[in-house]
């Protein structure tokens, strides 16, 4: 039905530490095993070097896809044995695979990893093993329960405790994530999910456009960084002030099954200490010779001095989309060449930022002429009270 690019991208990112999916998840659930995770990551990663990546990568993507489909059925049949088999198949497949990013990132090559590498490697696993694909199975099986969480005055209070995910439905026939996020307020987002009731995993805007799906059949889930932010948005979103293309969407708390009620500590840390956001700003370091006399002609700026000729946005999109799906790339108003990238997920931005900051990584070489930092999320704006 949908081309598997979405899977492929996420799988690609997952493949950063893909083989460790099960082990790390397992260890995370058992506090105090952090060091052993690191050891496993290093050893597994060493084993991947030298393998050809693409075939394995595609295979893994297919496996995940297959697993999703099969797992949906297994949910209905309540067959946990089958699920485990598929899971081990997945992990075996992952073990055979050499992650196409492991080469470029070389996260575990170093004898003494940089601080934060371990945490990042854990981060890379989490979104896709726990929140991404595993969760995706619940989209089908738990669909009816999602309806139960509608915002009646009673369950609004009940559902809202610790909840940080708002579900938007009854959208206008044509909308975009950009247009929704422009109107949303309350605080920064951790990630954005776009879902269709008959598709058992989140989809992308590209899928929607390519398949000509009407947006009023879709659901958007906004994962706020904190429950307080989600509450703020809900307060605002339920007023008539919140409209998207002239339509007031329906807002609900998302089903508890679908979400992690609290952020992973590592993401929380990145948000708190590094102001991590879904959006990265790239600003060119090159100093243009712009003095007033040369750049202004009769009071107007020079059209050539203030114009960068060799800037290829398609290439940048291609490069960065390997680290997660991109909602959009926008120009930034600056005296130096500048643009910003909006990811679906804060994890992608954190990983990209980390890679660019890390000496000798593929991205740091590619973007050596650019300063990169997190931008304020467009949803992180205060909303006017009534």
């Amino acid at each position: 039905m949908f081309k598997p690019t979405y899977f492929a991208h996420f799988q690609g990112s997952n493949s950063l530490c893909g083989p460790e999916v099960g082990k790390i998840t397992e260890s995370l659930e058992t506090p105090g095993k952090v060091i052993s995770i690191n050891r496993r990551v290093s050893s597994m990663n060493t084993a991947f070097h030298g393998h050809k990546t693409d075939k394995s990568f595609k295979k893994l993507a297919r496996t995940f896809s297959l697993w999703n489909d099969q797992d949906s059925e297994s949910c209905e049949q309540d067959s946990s044995i089958r699920k485990n088999k598929i899971r081990s198949k997945l992990l075996n497949s992952a073990n055979r695979m050499s992650g196409r990013f492991t080469n470029s990132l070389k996260l575990h090559d170093r004898k003494s990893p940089l601080p934060g590498d371990l945490q990042l490697s854990m981060l890379r696993d989490r979104p896709f093993s726990k929140s991404g694909y595993l969760t995706a199975n619940h989209y089908v099986s738990n669909q009816p329960s999602m309806q139960d969480d509608s915002l009646t005055s009673e369950n609004r209070t009940i559902s809202s405790v610790g909840n940080r995910v708002i579900r938007l439905s009854e959208l206008p026939p044509m909308a975009s994530l950009n247009s929704i996020l422009t109107q949303a307020m309350g605080g920064p987002l951790e990630r954005v999910y776009l879902t269709h009731p008959s598709i058992p995993h989140p989809i992308t805007e590209e899928d929607v456009t390519n398949s000509n799906i009407s947006w009023n059949h879709l659901t958007v889930q906004l994962f706020f960084a904190s429950p307080e932010n989600a509450h703020k948005f809900l307060n605002y979103g339920c007023t008539g002030m919140f409209t998207i293309n002239g339509v007031h969407p329906q807002l609900q708390w998302a089903s508890r099954v679908l979400q992690e009620t609290t952020l992973l500590p590592i993401i929380k840390d990145h948000i708190a200490s590094n102001s991590a956001r879904r959006i990265l700003i790239f600003k060119n370091k090159t100093v243009q010779t712009k003095n007033k006399s040369s750049s202004l002609i009769k009071g107007y700026p020079s059209p050539t001095i203030n114009y960068s000729f060799d800037f290829d946005i398609r290439k940048i999109k291609e490069n960065l989309s390997k680290y997660g799906n991109i909602i959009g790339i926008d120009p930034v108003i600056s005296q130096k060449l500048c643009f910003c990238v909006h990811f679906y997920d804060i994890r992608s931005a954190i990983i990209v930022k980390h890679e660019i900051d890390r000496a000798d990584s593929e991205l740091s070489v590619e973007y050596e002429d650019w300063n990169v930092w997190y931008a304020k999320d467009p949803t992180d704006t205060p909303y006017p009270e009534l």
């Binding site: 044509m174 107007y300 700026p301 790339i329 205060p382 006017p384």
Partner: protein, 388 residues
């Protein structure tokens, strides 16, 4: 606010109500606002009134807003009509990413503060400021800016409305490159089904004295005939050129010099074009023995622009309105393919109904209508209901 204030004539009562409601005065701009708003500075003044930036202190974190006060509306029918038109259109187009968002409204009847106060989201820059400063552009910047303008224009045109004053100064830009069309003061509906049935012929007349001169389409200058959405597309073409040239494409300091500037680039129009204008002015201006000009190549005007950019430009900035690309065709142009996302190109859900213009003919009718509009907006804003 509005609902608690009495109409003109009971000044003392108004002041008493205002004091109770804790209104305050900002004398530099003759603003009279609820004390929840703290005026920051005057952003601009014009014939319509004044715009100030304010902070809304009622929220947990102060919300920056722009407040446009439309003045002299209670004494001049034409200004009141224009204010209602703008208000209705801003309500109608709310929620589109590339159109400025109306946040709140207020009417003040107390002189000298009287007028309609429109509270809008505050945006960092306008496009004129961005173009005419040393902001670094690339083709991607220009593609993205043009694309967003066209998305906004598509939404407006899909409601059979023409903006009639598109120019960089009326396009706001956030620091993260989100463009928003504003100022619907000259906009109007053009759907014929709402034009019929007026007892007064002038209600159906559509004035040609619109658009800022540098962005005014030639048919607005020469023709007395009805014009359409193509006047906006001309303006979009001029803005597109300005994005490359970093200065307005046609800088005329009078109506005639404006034409001269256009002729320098586009060359003299063909006889067919002149005939189509159906005006003596056009005939006298262009026909021999008046000098005839050859068109310049766009590649000479903007030598650093790509071929596809120049192709799109030539399809927007051309004499014949019929030959100009409409907004859908412009959006489909190859130049925009790198930034295009069809999900961002919605159409308005209905045609803009402007029958009220015929149904409300006196100043008193219009005052009542304005009051109703503001009250309705406030109700919609507060209730969790479908906005109209």
């Amino acid at each position: 606010m509005i609902s608690s204030q009495k109409p003109i004539g009971n000044k003392k009562a108004d002041i008493e109500v205002a004091v109770k409601k804790e209104y305050s005065v900002y004398s530099k701009a003759n603003f009279y606002l609820n004390s929840r708003y703290q005026v920051q500075q005057v952003l601009g003044k014009g014939s319509y009134g004044v715009v100030c930036s304010v902070l809304d202190l009622k929220s947990e974190n102060p919300v920056p807003l722009a407040v446009k006060k439309v003045s002299n509306i209670f004494t001049r029918e034409v200004l009141l009509r224009r204010a209602i038109r703008e208000l209705k259109l801003m309500k109608f187009f709310r929620g589109h990413r590339n159109i400025i968002n109306l946040v709140n409204l207020d009417i003040v009847y107390i002189k000298p503060y009287d007028g309609l106060y429109c509270f809008q989201e505050l945006v960092d820059y306008d496009l004129a400021r961005v173009i005419h400063s040393n902001v670094q552009f690339s083709e991607f910047h220009i593609q993205s800016f043009l694309y967003q303008i066209l998305c906004g224009v598509k939404y407006i045109h899909s409601a059979d409305v023409i903006h009639r004053d598109l120019k960089p100064g009326n396009i706001l830009v956030t620091v993260l490159g989100n463009l928003k069309i504003c100022d619907f003061g000259l906009a109007r509906g053009i759907n014929h089904q709402f034009m019929q049935g007026s007892s007064r012929p002038r209600d159906n007349a559509i004035t040609n004295y619109v658009a800022t001169r540098w962005y005014r389409a030639p048919e607005l200058i020469f023709s007395r005939k009805e014009y359409g959405k193509a006047v906006d597309m001309w303006a979009v073409g001029c803005i597109f050129g300005e994005l490359y040239g970093r200065k307005p494409l046609f800088i005329g300091d009078s109506q005639m010099s404006q034409i001269a500037e256009i002729v320098k680039v586009l060359g003299s129009p063909s006889k067919e074009v002149i005939m189509a204008y159906g005006s003596h002015l056009a005939w006298d201006y262009f026909q021999p023995p008046k000098p005839q000009y050859r068109p310049l190549k766009w590649a000479h005007v903007y030598p650093y622009a790509s071929g596809s950019a120049l192709d799109l430009l030539s399809s927007l900035v051309c004499w014949e309105a019929k030959r100009r690309l409409d907004v859908e065709a412009a959006l489909s142009h190859e130049f925009l393919s790198a930034v295009r996302n069809k999900s961002q190109e919605p159409k308005c859900k209905s045609i803009f109904d402007f029958r009220w213009e015929k149904e409300n003919t006196s100043l008193e009718d219009l005052k009542i209508l304005l009051h109703e509009e503001v009250t309705q907006f406030k109700n919609e804003r507060e209730n969790n209901s479908q906005p109209n």
